[in-house]
């Protein structure tokens, strides 16, 4: 009786929320315009005039999944280089610098070849290394350090940053709205003719990033082992930051070739949100972004991860505390069942009513955190539904694995009660509404959905798809996904120093 009343109430609330969603899409469509420039670049403008500021996000449909062995880390390396300026920004004398940079590349090629010889001649390698370093010192003379960032800072830019994932590379910051034209110049300039100045120093910086995020962090080490184990063929198994050998080897020439292939306008989306007037903004966009040359779209990724045929497991014995991860292969984000996976994730791990929280955290107290989520390490290609649990003090990975398995079995075999499913759907809708404030977050969302699905409206349509998911869908998808041979386990076991076996 109680359950029924609750679900009726929930159904009623859902109507309210649904109406709100449709209304939001309509209101957003009215204020949003999208254009594809002649060179293929997609630009979205969403007007919000509360304050004289705007934010943007540029999303390039290229991530570490576009890498092959030998150049792992290069997508991320290019992201760093996109802050180094162009032939017009960041140089004291472009002609001289260009010649000096060419010498750096020649010297590096010679040094690399000698270093990679079957029997390296150490004296020769040392000489060539010195010649390369001398060439760098010469090229550095022409650099105006951080000129690009300084222009943004001086103009009042905030939140300037960028990220690289397995799927995409994103760039973003915010500016006062009277700097719109300056922004259009800078953002198109950084991709028009990016100059790979200070490349090898920046490569050291990226290596430090690897040391910080991966090598010196138990979680970082675990995740690198996890994806490397889960994927046998697909580049999702590469660490986005790159393998050490590649970070020690790839060149500015490699980076330029990578950019030429993937940083083409038809492979990029720019979303602008804020105090921008469309009628005034479009000519400015055309003028500056129109400078990017039209190029053929990059080829599609060929490699598809073959079906997993056996359970895999990797155990790290560390002096740090235990962590448990397990993943199951699932299809890409554009699969019709994607919304079902989203609902499974919510049922398992959204809030204090979620099944993993109630079972592992609240009742058994064997974990302080337990969740199951989609889209790891990316979502564009078939990826992993991943469980992550942090065991409570004194509890082991095996205990939390057992607890997770029990909840997964319930999802596979039992109907999901109607009120539980309704509660999840209500939260998905409200979650969408809560995402719609803030220029910077919105710009990233619009650019992401446009990049992944080819239409930013999918941000709203996704909610409708989730609304249609049934209990039967959940059982069907869970039963085909959560099976032993589709599983990869990665865990940290605490081993006192010197106790590793």
């Amino acid at each position: 009786m109680r359950v029924r009343r609750t679900s009726m109430l929930v159904a009623l609330l859902m109507l309210v929320a649904s109406a709100a969603t449709a209304q939001d899409l309509a209101s957003f469509e009215k204020r949003t315009s999208t254009r594809v420039l002649d060179n293929g670049l997609t630009v979205i403008i969403l007007e919000r005039h509360d304050a004289p500021v705007f934010s943007y996000a540029t999303m390039v449909n290229t991530g570490s999944a576009q890498e092959v062995p030998g150049i792992t880390g290069l997508a991320h390396m290019f992201e760093h280089m996109a802050f180094k300026g162009s032939d017009l920004i960041g140089t004291k004398d472009w002609k001289a610098e260009e010649a000096a940079l060419r010498k750096v590349e020649d010297a590096y090629a010679a040094y690399s070849a000698a270093r990679g010889a079957t029997r390296p001649d150490t004296a020769k390698v040392a000489d060539l290394e010195k010649a390369w370093k001398d060439a760098i010192a010469d090229a550095d003379k022409y650099v105006e350090d951080n000129a690009f960032s300084q222009v943004v800072d001086r103009a009042g830019g905030v939140g300037m940053n960028a990220f690289t994932s397995s799927d995409v590379t994103g760039y973003f910051f915010s500016l006062p709205s009277n700097r719109f034209e300056l922004w259009a110049y800078l953002e198109s300039e950084r991709f028009r003719n990016p100059v790979f100045r200070q490349f090898y120093k920046e490569r050291d910086v990226v290596f430090e990033e690897r040391r910080m995020r991966t090598e010196s962090s138990p979680v970082g080490r675990l995740i690198e082992q996890f994806i490397g184990t889960a994927f046998s063929a697909h580049p999702y198994g590469f660490p986005t930051v790159g393998w050490p050998s590649d970070l020690h080897s790839f060149s500015a020439t490699d980076a330029a070739a990578f950019a030429k292939k993937y940083y083409v306008p038809s492979n990029m989306v720019v979303a602008i949100v804020g105090d921008v007037n469309g009628a005034e903004a479009w000519p400015v966009i055309e003028k500056y972004f129109g400078r990017l040359p039209k190029s053929p779209a990059p080829p599609a990724l060929r490699t598809v991860e073959p079906p997993q045929i056996a359970e895999k497991m990797v155990t790290l014995r560390e002096t740090s505390q235990p962590i448990y991860v397990e993943g199951y292969h699932r299809p890409a984000a554009n699969d019709p069942d994607s919304a079902v996976y989203d609902v499974i994730s919510m049922l398992l791990s959204s809030g204090r009513t979620s099944r993993l929280y109630k079972s592992l955290v609240r009742d058994q107290k064997i974990a302080v955190n337990a969740s199951g989520f989609n889209g790891f390490p990316g979502e564009k290609y078939p990826n992993l539904f991943t469980f992550l649990a942090i065991p409570s003090q004194g509890h082991t990975p095996d205990e939390v694995a057992k607890g997770i398995r029990a909840e997964v079995d319930r999802i596979k075999t039992e109907e999901v009660p109607a009120d539980e499913l309704a509660s999840v759907k209500t939260r998905v809708k409200a979650g969408l509404i809560r995402q719609l404030s803030g220029n910077s977050g919105l710009a990233l969302q619009l650019a992401s959905y446009q990049t992944l699905y080819g239409d930013w409206r999918e941000l709203f349509r996704e909610v409708d798809r989730i609304d249609k998911v049934t209990s039967a869908d959940i059982k069907r998808v869970a039963a085909s996904t959560f099976i032993d041979t589709n599983r990869t386990i990665a865990k940290i076991e605490n081993a006192p120093k010197g106790g590793a076996k």
Binding site: L9, L13, A20, D24, D50, A51, P52, V53, F83, L88, I89, D140, D145, N146, S149, D153, R154, G156, V158, P176, N178, E181, Y185, E189, Q198, E202, D204, V205, F207, E208, R211, M212, E215, S216, S217, P218, K287, E318, T319, S320, Q321, S350, R352, T353, V361, K365, V368, I390, P391, S392, Q393, A422, S423, T426, R427, A430, I433, R434, S437, K497
Partner: protein, 695 residues
């Protein structure tokens, strides 16, 4: 010909078109459109409660928050961690009428949130709801605020989580750096730096939480703020109806916390499972109301603003030493902040980076900022200022902040004019006034074996032991040094006078025969112990079973036995370093070191007890007040064989220019554990260059 002309014309045209955008400085900047962000309405009730109401109709949401004075700084040190448990169990423990689990189900079905939490100086109850649910969720928010039940099961859950957090706090090097730097900056017992331990978590009771709620949650002690898609007048009516009849309670006062300024010097935390050294520099900072605040913010921007600041420029862009480096002076609203610089770099460039950071701090003080740096910093701050008030929510948050800390409501409006006035000379002046390169505490967290050189080549290194104390009630932490008493200071000088000129002793080599009690029975051995003050020791023990070498120093700590060479666990090494600080000659060499304190206590038999805190290691000497002889030492041993160690000293002889006891009898937990007879002592012996280096 014509063709050529056309071509030239086209080229010229192309060049002109390009020329329009060759230089960003040619792009015109229109003036920024004037705007004023709607300000929230402020209401003060007769009971002292301050309410802010801000309409915002963009999305169908309502958010509310009660910010209450009193946080972690307002609980006793022995209860460290209390507000964390409180902030969690306040909501999960439910209210008088509903359990927390019932609240979870009710709220999540509506995609609504009511959450609680606590910080350094405040606690809060917030709500976030779709506007259609305001009427059903508002009463829950109010109930949580006023009638929490703190059910025991959720207190236990919060404790499990707190203890798990403690057990994991040494896993990530960046976490260790941040925490230990804070402890160096404020002093470990400061309310702004102390940390929860298993023992303090265990001591927290349900009554403690109820008491804290009673102490802090009063209308005159909180600010209530609502924003969202509602009618302001109706919201005011709702809040007045909810709060007007609530009587006033006692005011919570800001605690007067003395700050222990970080002692200058080098500190080291050993963390071996990393490839980077995490480095931090720290000293005292300022409070927000300091009139030099605007000039210091310009200084911060020059030093470390974005990618253009000096730190990123010098250490990242130009030298490729780091991914992340940053720092500056912090200015919390009502207590002193810190000047901090942090950086992570590969182990092999740890010392180089320490030196480079010290150099940047020196440069900040000594080199005037250039006009170019000044204008970049000021324009960055001023042009970005619009972002501090670019939404109704920010306008509301700022008013709450100013109200909470008692700053004038136009503080943020006036601030830009203060930045405009800052000159290069101001920046130089405040840098010299607040930043003192010779007074920095420098902390390095990392794997010293991989550093390019031992850290001690940069100076005296103080190791910090981050071993997590077990919750065992028997284990008590050494009390903080209370400072010497006059009798203690006199007594230790008496001992020093008897022992002789210890300051001429840089190193000692003792040869002795020793009998040790082992599980296999008594064992005779030859012992050769070389100490190089302050912190390196090599002991060679020749036993019938073979030779054992034990080396302890901050850079290398290992044992060589017939079974091979083995590193000492860092906790054991740190314990040994602590014991070396408390060794008699080491203590006497530090009579004037403020980190060593001497307290004369009771008279026991023929001896006066002298309690010594040797920079964190405690030892008691039983001193013959007539002669200055130490008759007995008492200390606690940690490590593999813990317990109380009593050593009876006798047979004092002259060796070179000092007196030393030639016979020592050791007792562990009341049982004799060994004897030692000195046969020879060399003062300042020649020491093999590799004596303390791991083979």
């Amino acid at each position: 010909m014509k063709k050529l002309t056309t071509l030239i014309a086209t080229l010229c045209f192309a060049a002109t078109a390009l020329a329009q955008v060759r230089d960003y400085r040619e792009i015109k900047t229109p003036s920024l459109r004037k705007f004023s962000m709607p300000q929230p309405k402020r209401i003060q009730l007769a009971n002292g409660m301050v309410i802010f109401i801000q309409e915002d109709h963009e999305l169908p949401l309502v958010r509310g928050n009660a910010t209450i004075r009193g946080g972690s700084r307002d609980v006793p040190a022995a209860k460290a961690g209390l507000t964390g448990i409180y902030g969690s169990a306040w909501r999960t423990g439910g209210t008088a009428g509903k359990t927390g689990d019932e609240l979870d189900a009710f709220l999540e079905a509506r995609a609504a949130r009511v959450e609680t939490g606590a910080d350094t100086d405040s606690s809060r109850v917030g709500m976030d709801v779709l506007k259609g649910d305001l009427d059903t969720v508002f009463p829950i928010w109010l109930d949580v605020l006023r009638n929490p039940a703190f059910r025991q099961e959720k207190i236990d859950l919060a404790k499990t989580q707190a203890n798990t957090g403690i057990s994991r706090r040494n896993d990530e090097p960046g976490g260790i750096l941040g925490r230990e730097l804070n402890r160096l900056g404020y002093g470990p017992n400061s309310p702004y730096a102390r940390q929860a331990e298993y023992a303090s978590i265990a001591s927290i009771t349900r009554d403690d939480l109820i008491d804290f709620h009673k102490r802090t949650v009063h209308p005159n002690n909180m600010i209530v703020a609502f924003i969202g898609d509602f009618d302001g007048a109706q919201m005011e009516k709702r809040l007045r109806a909810a709060f007007e009849s609530w009587p006033r309670g006692p005011q919570i006062a800001r605690p007067d916390a003395a700050m222990t300024v970080a002692k200058p010097g080098l500190y080291f935390v050993s963390k071996e499972d990393v490839t980077q050294a995490n480095i931090g520099l720290v000293q005292a900072g300022i409070e927000r109301n300091n009139p030099d605040y605007p000039a210091l913010m310009v200084m911060n921007d020059v030093f470390s603003g974005g990618f253009s600041g000096r730190l990123m420029q010098a250490l990242r862009s130009q030298r490729g030493l780091t991914y992340g480096v940053g720092g500056g002076i912090s200015a919390p609203w009502d207590y002193p902040g810190l000047f901090r610089v942090t950086m992570a770099t590969k182990s092999e460039t740890a010392l180089e980076s320490v030196e480079a950071l010290k150099g940047e701090v020196k440069r900040l003080v000594n080199d005037p900022v250039t006009e170019a740096e000044l204008s970049l910093a000021k324009e960055s701050i001023l042009n970005a200022y619009v972002f501090t008030m670019d939404s109704r929510e920010k306008a509301l948050q700022q008013r709450v902040l100013l109200e909470f800390y008692g700053f004038p409501p136009d503080y943020f409006e006036k601030y830009p004019s203060l930045i405009e006035k800052v000159t290069a000379a101001d920046v130089q002046r405040v840098a010299q006034k607040y930043v003192h390169p010779d007074q920095l505490a420098i902390l390095v967290v990392g794997n010293q074996a991989k550093f390019e050189k031992p850290l001690s080549t940069l100076g005296n290194v103080t190791p910090i032991d981050i071993t997590i104390p077990s919750g065992d009630a028997k284990e008590t932490k050494p009390a903080a040094p209370q400072g010497s008493n006059a009798e203690g200071a006199a007594l230790v000088r008496k001992v020093a006078a008897f022992v002789g000129d210890v300051n001429s002793v840089q190193a000692l080599r003792r040869t002795a025969t020793t009998t040790m009690k082992t599980p296999q029975g008594e064992m005779e051995a030859e012992l050769n112990a070389t100490v190089r003050y302050p912190d390196a020791q090599r002991v060679v023990i020749k036993t019938p079973m073979g030779e054992i070498v034990r080396v302890v120093s901050p850079g290398a700590a290992y044992m060589i036995t017939p079974m091979g060479t083995q590193d000492m666990p860092s906790s054991q090494r740190d314990a040994s370093l602590g014991e070396m600080r408390a060794e008699m000659i080491a203590v006497l060499k530090n009579i004037d070191n403020p980190k060593y304190t001497f307290t004369a206590g009771a008279v026991e038999g023929d001896a006066r007890v002298l309690e010594i805190n040797a920079d964190g290691t405690n030892v008691k000497w039983y001193v013959d007040p007539a002669t200055g002889r130490v008759l007995r030492t008492v200390s606690r041993a940690n490590g593999p064989m813990p317990g109380e160690m009593v050593t009876e000293l006798s047979d004092w002889k002259v060796f070179g220019n000092i007196h030393l006891p030639a016979t020592a009898v050791m007792m562990r937990n009341g049982e004799k554990s060994g004897e030692l007879h000195l046969s020879n002592v060399e003062v300042n012996p020649t020491i093999d260059a590799n004596a303390f280096v791991k083979p």
